[in-house]
Symmetry: C2
Subunit: 500 residues, 2 copies
């Protein structure tokens, strides 16, 4: 094999893997948007076959030989080719370490678990789901030992979702965060209810909300030639390449801001994907590098920009035009306060900006226990309720609104939640850095966010998966991750809002 | 290899091919319905890779060995397994006979040709497209010689689209048809315009037309759990399995019957796919056997049922309810006459039931010449205009409304058109046979077509691709194909309508 042949073979392998993922991704997206309800079984059949074809493409002696050859001849590769080889090798080593029968058994387990979880959540029936939590955490411990027998299982999984992340870093991060925001939340609660957001609970017609979605995407400079918007039960973003990204939202007639902020959030994910480099397309480096960095982009737009004063004052004329009756006596400042009202609550995805991270901490504490094997899964509802009371001061009425609320564990993901919080803290640090280059507030007020998108393209988006998250953040900010920016932001913003 | 291993390997091969086709089909469907407009290039990339993966799955020494082994041990296979082997072997033999570089070159040629054709049609610029017709017909002659060097090229291609079909059969079929309907059309023209269909050219709101689509699908007993309807430029049906079929339509506010009859037509295709046997799913036998048989089902519903008196009288109350203003002075009989008005016209897809087959004959005559190499492609517009004048008596004003109107040739299909006509004639014969078992008119008037769907399931649908078209038709009708039923139907129906 010559080096040119190997490079060509690697490119073809990546194109095939990309094509299978494009296909699987579209089948999933179609299932959530357009497919008839009875199509699930046939979709599952095809997804299973495409998944095993992907496995077979990657895990075989020929690919192993190819990757060895490319690594031995690293010196002759371009930086991009070297990085492709590195990422492919990581995937190869990860997946090939799991015996195929265990890999397949885990897919079957997860398929079942998701079904059981859906029913359990609907029926507030935690006991039916508990055995699956047990089996899933046992399998994840076992896989972690295959990946890296010298490391604690939870650290192995944290690193899978956010390379470089571990419990030491998270304990320190969450410790500082808790120290700063728990007293802040207490002060807000002591102050009593000073923000009226009841006007948000009127009827907002869906056709007008759809116009608002288009307007928000326009403000965010999302190129609609390459980004469609659909409607699903839970909003999400999916990308096939940098010229084909889909976001979704859900419209509630009685809560317009749910969809408004989900569009801005998913729009942030979309901007990242739409601006990854052309030269990375159809390789394993196309697309955002990690969940944490991705979340930094969605939450940067959703909260740091979308819930800022200049953003509200800029879009308010459009809101008034669309909803003149609903907002007739409401000032931009009242709207700003309403979308920033902080009230500890039970459900993570409905949490406000300030209390959101406490929800993540609850899951973090429980995941640590599960992957240490130090908790009896039958006791999880109690543990959950205890932590929610400790961190947020709320009483959990039932498991549907408690331990059963999220889908992640049933999907086999443990170690994924913390990146929601880390990503938000990345966003604060990135924004701080951005403000040294451009006048962010003026840009937002102008109603055309292009200079912000351009800055992010130059410093984050265009790199796709060329760098690991910590490297990318360092390159962007000229310093390592520092949660101070996030803490300062939260304390500053909410002290001002609540006049503390 | 044991026979059990071979059977398993064959089943897995078919599942993989099915999964790749499901994926490619959905990517195509999404492109026509939901995808952002700029997504075409990335979609093309993935479709190319999936296509080559399908080629590699089928054409390789291992598959060749497997198919040989299965054929040698045919005695140990179930009838279904034997048929699967037969169909796979046919495909293997067909594709493997074309040298891979010529196969790829043809895909590239077609890709280009389709693009050139789109522009040529838009700009009425036949000369830009002529070289592609030349290259495509040359390639198709060459491929035909690979498939079967002892047969005339056009016969080889006719057989590819409708197994068992050839020019002798078609010459006889079209000859009889022409003999019967050309004088009929003449008589109708001599009689002058006695049918007023001007009321169809009013404004029919799209939201009401959507309700009508749902109603039509309900009447046809299409199970909506397994069949979604979308909107596209050109209506089509696509199926992924018998629990996931999609039909599309296009709504014109000024011509409600266009969408109405496209929904009934595509609904006929959908019913076929929805009722193929469960045991055939994820094998190469899932789905309808041929274009001709498929068209027999769509046109059976569209014309023989949907344009019949009992159908119009049954749905008329719904039409009046949806369009009270537009139809207020119109009787069911006037509506019946309007949707059956026969006027020779330029555009095939807008042709009425009586003149439709003459359009097919024009293409048939030209395809014969092209695959014999007996026509100068630069002269095709003249040849076209001459045949249109001969057969339909119309003058062709330009190539956009003439030789450039259809997409088939640019897509590399020659030999496909005749199955539209043959399929319609199959439908007449199938309907004649059905009427011996059930009272079709009474069933239609009842507004619930289930007994018709059940009869078709039992006699056509459930068999999927288990039998070749001529066998299936024989089994259903107890006699070979006979165009008399179709000719009698047309003469009877239109003589009555025009009181000849």
């Amino acid at each position: 094999m010559t080096i040119d042949q190997a490079i060509q073979q690697s490119a073809m392998l990546q194109k095939k893997i990309h094509a299978l993922r494009h296909a699987s991704g579209l089948i999933f997206y179609d299932g959530a948007t357009t497919a008839p309800e009875g199509a699930a079984a046939g979709r599952g059949e095809t997804l299973g076959v495409l998944g095993s074809m992907e496995y077979e493409l990657l895990i075989n002696p020929e690919t192993e030989k190819l990757l060895h050859f490319l690594q031995e001849n690293k010196g002759e590769l371009s930086p991009q080719q070297a990085r492709e080889t590195e990422i492919l090798t990581r995937e190869y080593e990860k997946i090939s370490k799991i015996p195929q029968d265990e890999f397949v058994a885990f897919q079957v387990l997860i398929n079942e678990a998701q079904d059981v979880w859906h029913k359990a959540k609907r029926n507030n029936d935690y006991p039916s789901f508990a055995p699956y939590i047990e089996k899933i955490s046992t399998a994840l411990r076992k896989f972690a030992a295959y990946f890296n027998p010298d490391e604690k299982p939870y650290n192995v999984w944290l690193d899978q979702y956010e390379r470089g992340l571990n419990m030491d870093k998270l304990d320190s991060f969450f410790g500082k965060l808790k120290e700063a925001i728990v007293p802040l939340i207490k002060k807000i609660q002591d102050k009593g209810s000073i923000i009226d957001d009841s006007f948000l609970n009127q009827e907002f017609p869906v056709d007008k909300q759809r116009i608002l979605s288009d307007y928000l995407m326009e403000v965010m400079c999302i190129d609609r030639r390459y980004c469609a918007i659909g409607e699903t039960e839970h909003p999400f973003t999916i990308n096939f390449n940098n010229k084909d990204v889909r976001i979704t939202t859900k419209y509630h007639t009685d809560k317009m801001t749910n969809s408004m902020y989900s569009v801005i959030h998913e729009g942030g994910h979309a901007l990242y994907e739409l601006h990854t480099g052309d030269e990375l397309q159809f390789t394993c480096l196309a697309g955002g590098i990690s969940m944490g960095i991705h979340e930094s982009q969605s939450r940067l737009f959703e909260n740091f920009i979308g819930r800022s004063k200049p953003f509200i004052s800029m879009i308010y004329p459009k809101l008034l035009e669309l909803f003149p009756e609903q907002l007739k006596n409401i000032s931009p400042h009242q709207f700003y306060l309403a979308v920033n009202k902080s009230v500890p609550s039970l459900i993570r995805i409905e949490a406000d900006e300030l209390t959101y991270c406490l929800h993540i901490m609850v899951r973090y504490e429980i995941e640590k226990m599960l992957l240490e094997g130090s908790v009896d899964v039958d006791k999880l509802p109690e543990v959950w309720a205890g932590l929610m009371k400790d961190y947020l001061g709320v009483d959990v009425p039932d498991d549907t609104h408690g331990v059963l609320q999220d889908s992640h564990w049933s999907g086999g993901s443990m170690g994924y939640f913390p990146s929601y919080a880390i990503g938000t803290a990345y966003a604060a640090q990135i924004l701080h850095r951005m403000k040294q280059d451009i006048n962010v507030e003026d840009i937002i007020e102008s109603g055309n966010l292009k200079p912000i998108v351009d800055w992010l393209t130059e410093n984050i988006y265009k790199y796709g998966s060329l760098m690991d998250p910590d490297e990318l953040l360092y390159k962007c900010c000229n310093e390592p991750f520092d949660p101070t920016y996030y803490i300062d932001y939260l304390v500053g913003k909410f002290s001002a809002i609540y006049d503390l």
